[in-house]
Structures are given as structure tokens and as C-alpha cells.
């Protein structure tokens, strides 16, 4: 039945070749128009599991909590300290520049130069507050004397470690961003804002004596967007490398053109579709078009490999094209469906980014059925191949055959098969063991998207080490009844929670309204430390609360919100997990009527949610993908041996991948979770090509060793070549400015190579061993996929 359908389709497409190509060309042109409108979009929100408890807290309070919209610019003296005319003048200029920069909330700009920086001194007469830099001091009137005064007041005011570095080597300007813009309601364009910071602050004020360091969420996002644009270059580089490799393989420009053109066409369709679906091209999802291209090339190489063999055997271009159409339509479709299902399962991960990626990847793979399995053969039928090509190709072919035959003899030799299998099984055990305790989430300090030695992360490192700042913040949100901050009992509860969390390992320091209120209470009582306690009386408590600067965002207008900010030692998943667990333990053991303790905001809170989702999704995802593969393998070969021979090597490859991740400190993240799933989907392709041939030869009555040698001769080189080609392309990502792209590149390269090696070594070794150990009782059925 299927055969009849295939023949019918072949007659239709090859009978109307021009019409077929015309329609495809028109569609490509149309999609090309949409594809041209595709925009790069670095969506931060898309990376978050929106339905997760923590993310809902984060979203609900992101505009009222501290930190999300903060930008910090540090003027740092390369030698000495900032207590001199030049550095303080620079600090003044930077303060001014930030003050007048669009997107900055002017009221919040704070540095030694701003009037909101006051030193409070408690004397017998009461509290005395004065500006750290008084209104009478200007840049022009700075003298060693009044600089000494400024320094003294900065110390008294407690600004060492906050506005001034602990060692005096730098001073900062802090500002909050007006996002969304209160006038227009538009959200801030981080990319543009970040560029403006570079142009109007960094390049203007940094010089031989001064570093300007800029950190903050907006800058981080801007730098990521900028790094993402380099992807286009990697794509171009990968394309050129692939083209060169395919030419080396085929020795024919026509056969090079066919797979590359059809793969590019499907990428154009995919870009068009992404635009039509309303998505942008996200830096995280940029691997998808590339993968789709890679899958296309990988199938294309098998196809042109087939054409070359037909041509060498004397067929003309048209005949060879019709043969690959009939020969590969069904198996190709099945292989692509496997990949399709694998990608589609990613939709189940509740992170919008991964869902988007799953949809675009599935669509791209589905397009392959048309571009590779229909368009490529029809296009090929227009070309003819001269005698020169046949001569060249057969010479190369012969050489490769000898190489593969040599390899085949060794691998399929039953003794070697046993040894090989045993080695691989040991390797499996070792890799399962070694991959235990894999990292989840981001491992290294700084912004995880960017490299450790990136400008941004160097700035983070410098600022964190010189100022008493922690950048890994987890905010526990305490929701209270209205005016909760004036109720002693509620404040005392939040205070005890703060103290409990201060004692959790991994917590560096804490900050909350009650802890600062206690200091304020001491302040209004002559600064006596014995008064640093929450007043019992509502009025007295309120008086102390009002001393706590509003800018710290430790309470909201109607006092229904008491955030507890925890600064963590790092943002390793294990650290965050422990802190999150401690919060849950406390709130379960100490419920307080009317008060809700909610997790979690801050960058570490957001990561906690993502880590949980990614960690919980991984195993089910892998199981779905493997189940799909098992079912498809069974449908195609109707043989349990095939299921073992195809899936054991994949499993080993997966665990080796985990081991690789652990050794290279690549954590399981939103970026790497899909890579592992996709890698399995692509790895199964290699297995299909090899096993399909093996089964066909077995069905012809050949013994397993001969069958394997034949199979390896026919598709071995193409498989090895495909994997190497794809690896080279993906490996270029390792040089990406974005760390997660580099991680993905390295991981994917590794997975391509390992899957290939497994397909040509462990798979046949297993097949041989099973056949020797448990001899087949009946004849082998011919595969449904006739390559």
C-alpha cells in the first residue's frame, strides 16, 4: 500500500517538475518576505516558568521591590584612592550624566555629591544631619581641606562599603530606572540604554587613571542582546565550513548545492513562520534554525551519497533522482518524524522560552519533509553528471570503501564485539556514576549568560569585592494586613524570620524593615545600642519605621509588604535550594495569622524557580523522547533486537553528555535542557541509517558480520562525515560572546560526535553480540525503510 502511494507521489512530482518547483519557489519567496522582518528579541521573561509560585511572586512585586531596576556606576581610581580633586570631579560628572540620562528616575540618583547623601551624627543635643558634600562645595572649590571633611562625613554617615569602596579605591553612583517610562508608559529599551551608558558614561569618563564600571540588570540585558548579534556571523561561518566540507565529500558543486540549498530553503520557511507566529529570534533559541539547517544537511548528505552511488553505477541524473525519491521518502519521513516528536515533547516544559523553541524546531523539522525529501530529488533530476565526475567519485568511493571495510572487519568480529560491548557497558556504569550530582542552574559567579571574563562580569567582580555588596539576592516577601509595619507582633515575626534566615548557611547577610527599624529606634534614643529593639507602642514603632529610607524598598505605601532581602554567598543551585528549604521550614513551623511568607524574588529567587522546573522536567522529557524512539524503532523494524541495538548506544551517549557537563561546569539550565533532548533526537538518525542497512542485508540472508561490513561501507562514511561536518559548524559557537551559547555549542558538538561514534561502534557490536548469544529463529524481515 505504502509502496503504491510512494510510486504515485513520484509520478506526480516528477511528472510536474516545473510546477512543483514553481510552487515551492513562490512559497519560498513569500516566506522570505516574512523572514526578512525577523527581529532579534532577548526576552528575559520568556526564560521564566511563569506559572511557578516564585515567579508569580516575582511578577507581582517586581516593580516595588529593590534591585530589579537599579543601575550602578562606579568611578574607580586605578592607583590610590578617590579622595582627590580629580576623582571626585569625575564622580560629580558621572552623577550629572546619569541624572540627565533618559530612562533614569532622577529622584533616585545617589552618590556622595547628591543632597540625599547625609551624615547623621548623634550628639547630646540630639541628631544632627548634614550633607556629606555640602551645598557650598563645588567641583571648582575642592581643596585638600574640604576633601578631608567629605571623607570624614562619608565615614560617619556609614557610606564606606556602600557609596565608597571599603578600601577607598572607588565611589559609586546608584540610580533606579524609570521603567516603564511614567510619561509614555513604554518599557525601557535595555539595548539602547546600555549603549547610551557606554557612549555617554564609560567612554567619556574612563581614562588612563580611572576605570568606569557599570553593573545592573539593564546593563546585563543590553550586553546579552549585543552578544546575541554575533550569532549571525557564526551562522555564516558554519555555513561556509559546511559548504567546504560537503564539496570535499561529494567532489561535485551540484551535489554540494543540493543539500545546502534545500536546507537553507527550509530555514527561510522557518524564519518566515517564526515571524508569522509573532515570535522573535531569541538568543537562546538561535540554535533552532541552526539545528534545522544541520538536520537538513545531514539528510541531504545521505541523499547525495545515494545519488553519487547510483550515478557511479551508471544511472543518469533523472533516474538517480527518482530512485532516491522512492527509496528515501518513507525512511526519511520516519526519521524526521522521530526528530519532530522529540522536539515537540519539549512543549511540556512550562517555560515559555523552551515552548517557543519546541514549536519552531518542530515546524522546521516538518518543513524538512518537503524540502529534503521532495524538493531535493526533484531539483536533482534537472542535473546530469559527466564522466569526469563519475571517475573522480568512484576513485574516492573506492578508497573510502576500503577504509570502512577495514573498520567493519574489526568491529563486527564477534570477539571484538564482545570486548567493545564490555568496554562500553563499563563506560556506561562509570558515566552514570560520574554524572551523579550534576550541576543544576548556573555554576559560576556573575551574570550566567555572559562569560566569566566578559566586561560585565569583570565589573561585577570588581564592585562586589570592593564594596560590601552581594549581587546574588533572594527576596522573601512577607505579606501582612494593612499597616503591618506598625504592629509590634508582625514586625517581631518578620524580625525573627530575618534572624532565622541570617543563620542559614549560604546566607551572607540579610536586610529587612525590622532590622533597620531597630537601628532607627536606637538612633532616636541617643544611639544607645540597648534601645535597638522594636518599640512596643504603635506610635513609637511608626516613628522608627519612618526613619528607614523609602528608597530601600523595604516596605510599601500601605505597609502590606515586608520584603526580607537575603544576600547569598553564590547562586549555585545547591546554595539556593538550601535557603529556599529553610524558608519553607520556617513558614510551616511558625505560621502567623494574617501573614503570608512568599517565595521568592531577586535574581536568586528567579533562579530557584527555573532550577526547580528544569530539574523536574528533565527526566520526564528524556523518558518521553526515549519512549518515542523505542516505539518508532519497533514500528519500523518490528524487532526487539533493534530496540536494544539502537537505544543502548543513545543512553550511553546521553550519560557521557551528562558527565561532560559536570566536568566542564555546564549546569542544567533553560539553555542546556533542550540541547540534551535534541541531541538524542539527532543521535537516533545515525542509528537509523546504520541499522536500516544492517537489517536489509540480514534480510537478504547474509550473516551478521558480512551484513555489518556492507552497511558500514554503504553509509558509514556518510554518517561519520555528517557528524564531523555538523560538529565543526556547532563548535564555532564556543567562541560566542554569550556563555550559554558557548555551552550549548560545546555540548552539542560533543553529543554529535559521541552519537556518531556510538552508532558505528557500539550499535553494530551490540547487534553482533545479541545475534551470537541469542541466535535468530526466523528469517529477518526487510526494513520498512528501504534506503
Amino acid at each position: 500500500m505504502i509502496e503504491k502511494l510512494v510510486i504515485g507521489l513520484q509520478r506526480f512530482f516528477f511528472g510536474n517538475r516545473l510546477l512543483t518547483l514553481g510552487v515551492l519557489l513562490a512559497f519560498t519567496a513569500l516566506m522570505g518576505v516574512f523572514a526578512a522582518q525577523l527581529k532579534m528579541s532577548a526576552g528575559f521573561d520568556k526564560q521564566l516558568p511563569q506559572d511557578h509560585e516564585y515567579i508569580q511572586t516575582f511578577n507581582q512585586y517586581r516593580d516595588v521591590l529593590f534591585g530589579a531596576n537599579r543601575i550602578i556606576v562606579v568611578v574607580e581610581a586605578k592607583k590610590g584612592d578617590i579622595w582627590n580633586e580629580k576623582a571626585l570631579t569625575k564622580l560629580y560628572d558621572v552623577t550629572q550624566a546619569l541624572f540627565f540620562m533618559p530612562g533614569v528616575d532622577r529622584r533616585t540618583v545617589t552618590s556622595l555629591w547628591t543632597p540625599n547623601t547625609r551624615a547623621v551624627q548623634i550628639t547630646e543635643e540630639g541628631m544632627k544631619a548634614e550633607d556629606v558634600i555640602g551645598g557650598d562645595v563645588t567641583v571648582k572649590s575642592l581643596t585638600p581641606d574640604n576633601i578631608a571633611g567629605i571623607r570624614e562625613r562619608a565615614v560617619i554617615g556609614g557610606f564606606i562599603g556602600s557609596l565608597v569602596a571599603n578600601d577607598g579605591s572607588g565611589a559609586m553612583v546608584v540610580a533606579e530606572l524609570a521603567d516603564p517610562d511614567p510619561a509614555t508608559g513604554k518599557r525601557l529599551d535595555y539595548f539602547e540604554f546600555s549603549k547610551r551608558l557606554e557612549d555617554e558614561v564609560r567612554s567619556k569618563f574612563a581614562d588612563a587613571d580611572t576605570n568606569v564600571r557599570i553593573i545592573g540588570f539593564a546593563k546585563q540585558m543590553g550586553d546579552i542582546s549585543e552578544g546575541a548579534t554575533s550569532v549571525v556571523e557564526f551562522f555564516a561561518l558554519a555555513f561556509l565550513l559546511t559548504a567546504a566540507a560537503v564539496y570535499w565529500y561529494t567532489r561535485s558543486w551540484v551535489l554540494t548545492f543540493l543539500p545546502l540549498a534545500s536546507s537553507l530553503v527550509s530555514v527561510v520557511w522557518q524564519f518566515g513562520t517564526i515571524t508569522l507566529l509573532g515570535f522573535g529570534l531569541d538568543p537562546l533559541a538561535v540554535l533552532v534554525p541552526f539545528l534545522v539547517f544541520a538536520i537538513g544537511v545531514s539528510h541531504g548528505i545521505q541523499q547525495v551519497n545515494y545519488i553519487a552511488k547510483e550515478v557511479i553505477n551508471g544511472a543518469d541524473g533523472f533516474t538517480a533522482a527518482t530512485r532516491i525519491f522512492t527509496g528515501l521518502l518513507v525512511p526519511g519521513t520516519l526519521a524526521l518524524i522521530t526528530a519532530f516528536v522529540g522536539f515537540a515533547t519539549l512543549v511540556l516544559v512550562p517555560i515559555p522560552m523552551i515552548r517557543e523553541l519546541a514549536i519552531t524546531a518542530s515546524v522546521g523539522v516538518a518543513y524538512k519533509i518537503v524540502t529534503n525529501l521532495i524538493m531535493l530529488p526533484v531539483l536533482a533530476s534537472f542535473f546530469s553528471f559527466d564522466k569526469n565526475f563519475v571517475a573522480r567519485a568512484s576513485k574516492v568511493e573506492e578508497m573510502r570503501n576500503r577504509l570502512m571495510a577495514g573498520l567493519g572487519v574489526h568491529i563486527a568480529n564477534p570477539r571484538n564485539a564482545f570486548i567493545g560491548t564490555a568496554v562500553c557497558l563499563v563506560l556506561l556504569v562509570v558515566s552514570v556514576w560520574q554524572s551523579q550530582g550534576r550541576h543544576v542552574g548556573h555554576v559560576l559567579p556573575g551574570a550566567p549568560e555572559l562569560h566569566n571574563d566578559s566586561r560585565y562580569n569583570q565589573d561585577v567582580e570588581a564592585v562586589v569585592s570592593r564594596f560590601g555588596l552581594g549581587l546574588d539576592m533572594l527576596t522573601v516577601v512577607v505579606e501582612t494586613p494593612k499597616d503591618g509595619c506598625y504592629k509590634h507582633e508582625i514586625m517581631a515575626y518578620a524580625d525573627r524570620l530575618t534572624w532565622y534566615l541570617t543563620n542559614v548557611p549560604g546566607v551572607l547577610s540579610t536586610q529587612s524593615l525590622p532590622t533597620l527599624t531597630k537601628l532607627a529606634a536606637s538612633g532616636v534614643n541617643e544611639g544607645n545600642p540597648k534601645w535597638a529593639s522594636l518599640p512596643q507602642e504603635e506610635l513609637t514603632l511608626g516613628e522608627a519605621v519612618r526613619q528607614v529610607p523609602e528608597g530601600l524598598r523595604l516596605y510599601n505605601a500601605d505597609c502590606t509588604l515586608l520584603p526580607v532581602n537575603l544576600y547569598l554567598t553564590d547562586h549555585k543551585a545547591s546554595t539556593i535550594k538550601e535557603v529556599v528549604a529553610a524558608v519553607k521550614t520556617y513558614r510551616d513551623a511558625n505560621p502567623f495569622p494574617g501573614v503570608t511568607v512568599r517565595l521568592a524574588s531577586g535574581n536568586a529567587g528567579v533562579q530557584a524557580a527555573t532550577n526547580e522546573v528544569v530539574e523536574h522536567s528533565e527526566l520526564p522529557m528524556m523518558l518521553y523522547v526515549y519512549a518515542t524512539i523505542l516505539i518508532l524503532v519497533f514500528l519500523v523494524y518490528r524487532d526487539w533486537r533493534a530496540m536494544i541495538a539502537c537505544c543502548v548506544p543513545l543512553t550511553l551517549a546521553t550519560f557521557l553528555g551528562y558527565w561532560f557537563m559536570k566536568s566542564l561546569n555546564i549546569g542544567l539550565t533553560v539553555a542546556t535542557l533542550p540541547v540534551m533532548v535534541l541531541a538524542v533526537g539527532i543521535g537516533v538518525d545515525y542509528a537509523f541509517y546504520i541499522y536500516n542497512r544492517l537489517q536489509m542485508h540480514l534480510s537478504h540472508g547474509e550473516d551478521i558480520v558480512t551484513a555489518f561490513k556492507q552497511a558500514l561501507r554503504e553509509v558509514g562514511v556518510a554518517t561519520v562525515f555528517t557528524a564531523v561536518t555538523l560538529s565543526i559548524g556547532v563548535a564555532t559557537w564556543s567562541f560566542s560572546a554569550l556563555k550559554f551559547q558557548a555551552d550549548m555549542g560545546m555540548l552539542l558538538t560533543f553529543m554529535f560526535m559521541v552519537n556518531m561514534i556510538m552508532a558505528i561502534t557500539l550499535l553494530p557490536a551490540l547487534a553482533v553480540m545479541i545475534d551470537v548469544l541469542i541466535p535468530r529463529r526466523g528469517p529477518v524481515k526487510a526494513p520498512l525503510m528501504m534506503h
Partner: protein, 321 residues
């Protein structure tokens, strides 16, 4: 009828409330106070008072933290049971076993085992802020606090009687510290330069003429019988005649002084806010400022070693300067 219904509803409600209390998973002590948490960082809580208890040392501070050391201040352990979690301001021991601590909310705690387990002995009426406790022996003790609060006991704390320390305009002044002087005298240091003396074990008090206006936070008696009062703006006052006359000693600092101790070798160590430490050299007081500028709250001497407490708890490198 309606009244009766309301009354029974109220009864029901209060019953329900008591059931809720009884089944509440949060461990609450009898007075509704939340016990102190066993804290990994107990010695890093803000600590404000330290005293000797026999050979041991006991320090108290925020979050109901009480820590004790039995090796002269090197290693510290948190007390096993403290029924409150607010700020404890002062601690005093009559002997190695019997000790008292006071704090915010009118809390008076007692220990009978040298400071390992504590119980609420008394809650002062109106839950005033108590600032200082001093026991002369296991029966006789004195407590002072905010707005002229002053209590005394003659039965080891079983019953407390109010004392009238300041009269008239002085009655509402904060009393920051109560301590003993020579010949059975008692002294109280207070707000706005006030200081008081009792020669009859707290029955009657008289205002002393200190000559200063800044608040006095602390005081001590030296082995030679001299009395010192410590206060804001770096004030150190000395009296050699049981407090009749006071003279100001130069310190050269403006930081408020929180506490002081006379070491075994007779040298003084005074501490204050902003990292101020004062020692005496050749009859002069010399001020140093610690690099961390941490507010220092109390000091004790164990042999030649100092035990220094501050806003971040026990100070690891207690050198002065």
C-alpha cells in the same frame, strides 16, 4: 437574653482562642513570648551586656541570645533554653549559679544553673524597657529602665517592689545603669547627665551633681574605690568621694561610651560607639578607633584578655589599640 448570648459568644470565642493557642505549632512560652532560636550565629547577634558568673562569662543581646563561656571567653555556647526572643539589655550574677537578665517588654529572666537554662521570673507592669540589672547577692537585686522605671527585690526575685529613684522632674528620666559603689552604696546613671545614689540599699535615692548635661550610660567602681560615670560625647566623670564631687576626665573622643572594665592589672578599658576604645596610660586616657568602626556595647576582662561585644556580636580580635 441578648446580653447573655453575647456573653456566651465571647466565652466561646475566648475558648476557641485558647484552643488555637494550645494547638498552635509555634512553641510559645507561658507569657506568649516566643523562645529564643538556637542559632548557628548566636555569638554574632548584637550583644550588649556581659558579666562574670563565677569562673564563667555570660553575655546577652538581641533575639533573646544568651551565650556563655567557661574557658575565659575563647569558646562560647548558646544557652540551652531562653523563653524570650526580644532584646536582652543587661545581665547580672550573684554567684556562679544564680543570675538574672532583663530586657525590652519588662522581661526579667532568672537562671539557677549558671546561665544554661532561663525562665521568665517576672514581667514588669506596663512592659517597660528595662535597661540594667544588678544583684548584690542571691536575694537582693535592682532593676532600672526607661522613664524612671526602678524595681528591687529582697527575695531573689520572687517579688519585686518599685523604687522611686528620681523626684519631680527627674522621675521620668531613663535610668541606664545601676551598679554598686563602696560601703554598700548603690548608683544609677541616667538620662541628661543625671546620676543617683542610695546609701540604704535602695530605700532612698538622692540626685548627684555631675555637672554635665549629656546622658550617662554606664558606670563602674574601681578597686581603689573611685567611681566612674561614662556617657555621651566621650564623657568620663570621676569621683573619689562616693559621688559627692565629679570631675571630667579628658578622652579626646566624641563617641558615646557604653561600658568599661578595670583589668586585673588595674588598667581601665572603656568602649563606645563608632569603634571607640579608651585605655589609660600614665594616668591619661587615650582613645583609639577600631578600623571597622563597629559600635561597641560592652566589655569584660578575663585575666589579661578582653571580651568585647558589639553590634555584630562577639569581637574576634578584641585588641584595643
Amino acid at each position: 437574653m441578648k446580653l447573655k448570648l453575647t456573653a456566651s459568644l465571647t466565652l466561646l470565642a475566648s475558648l476557641a482562642a485558647s484552643i488555637v493557642l494550645a494547638t498552635s505549632p509555634a512553641p510559645t512560652s507561658p507569657a506568649g513570648e516566643v523562645p529564643a532560636m538556637k542559632a548557628r550565629l548566636a555569638s554574632h547577634a548584637s550583644l550588649v551586656s556581659v558579666t562574670a558568673a563565677g569562673d564563667a562569662y555570660v553575655a546577652v543581646g538581641d533575639y533573646g541570645t544568651i551565650i556563655r563561656s567557661t574557658d575565659g571567653g575563647k569558646a562560647w555556647q548558646q544557652a540551652a533554653a531562653v523563653p524570650v526572643s526580644g532584646l536582652l539589655t543587661s545581665v547580672s550574677f550573684a554567684d556562679a549559679k544564680n543570675g538574672w537578665a532583663v530586657g525590652h517588654g519588662g522581661i526579667i529572666l532568672v537562671t539557677r544553673d549558671g546561665g544554661d537554662t532561663w525562665a521568665i521570673q517576672h514581667t514588669a507592669d506596663g512592659k517597660p524597657v528595662l535597661l540594667s540589672v544588678f544583684f548584690t547577692d542571691a536575694d537582693h537585686g535592682y532593676v532600672v529602665g526607661a522613664y524612671g522605671t526602678a524595681l528591687q527585690t529582697a527575695d531573689g526575685g520572687k517579688s519585686w517592689e518599685p523604687m522611686q529613684v528620681g523626684e519631680g522632674r527627674d522621675a521620668d528620666l531613663h535610668l541606664n545603669h545601676v551598679f554598686s559603689g563602696p560601703e554598700g552604696t548603690l548608683f544609677a546613671a541616667g538620662e541628661s547627665g543625671s546620676a543617683f545614689r542610695s546609701k540604704d540599699g535602695g530605700q532612698h535615692w538622692e540626685r548627684l551633681n555631675t555637672g554635665v548635661t549629656g546622658s550617662l550610660w554606664s558606670g563602674l567602681q574601681r578597686k581603689g574605690g573611685q567611681l566612674l560615670l561614662l556617657g555621651m560625647s566621650g564623657k568620663v566623670l570621676e569621683s573619689t568621694d562616693l559621688g559627692d564631687h565629679w570631675k571630667v576626665l579628658e578622652t579626646g573622643t566624641n563617641q558615646a561610651l557604653t561600658g568599661g572594665v578595670e583589668k586585673a592589672d588595674g588598667h581601665l578599658v572603656l568602649v563606645g560607639t563608632g569603634g571607640a576604645t579608651i585605655t589609660d596610660k600614665d594616668g591619661q586616657l587615650v582613645t583609639g578607633i577600631r578600623d571597622d568602626r563597629q559600635n561597641l556595647a560592652a566589655v569584660a576582662a578575663s585575666g589579661g584578655n578582653l571580651i568585647l561585644l558589639g553590634q555584630n556580636g562577639l569581637i574576634q580580635d578584641p585588641q584595643t589599640h
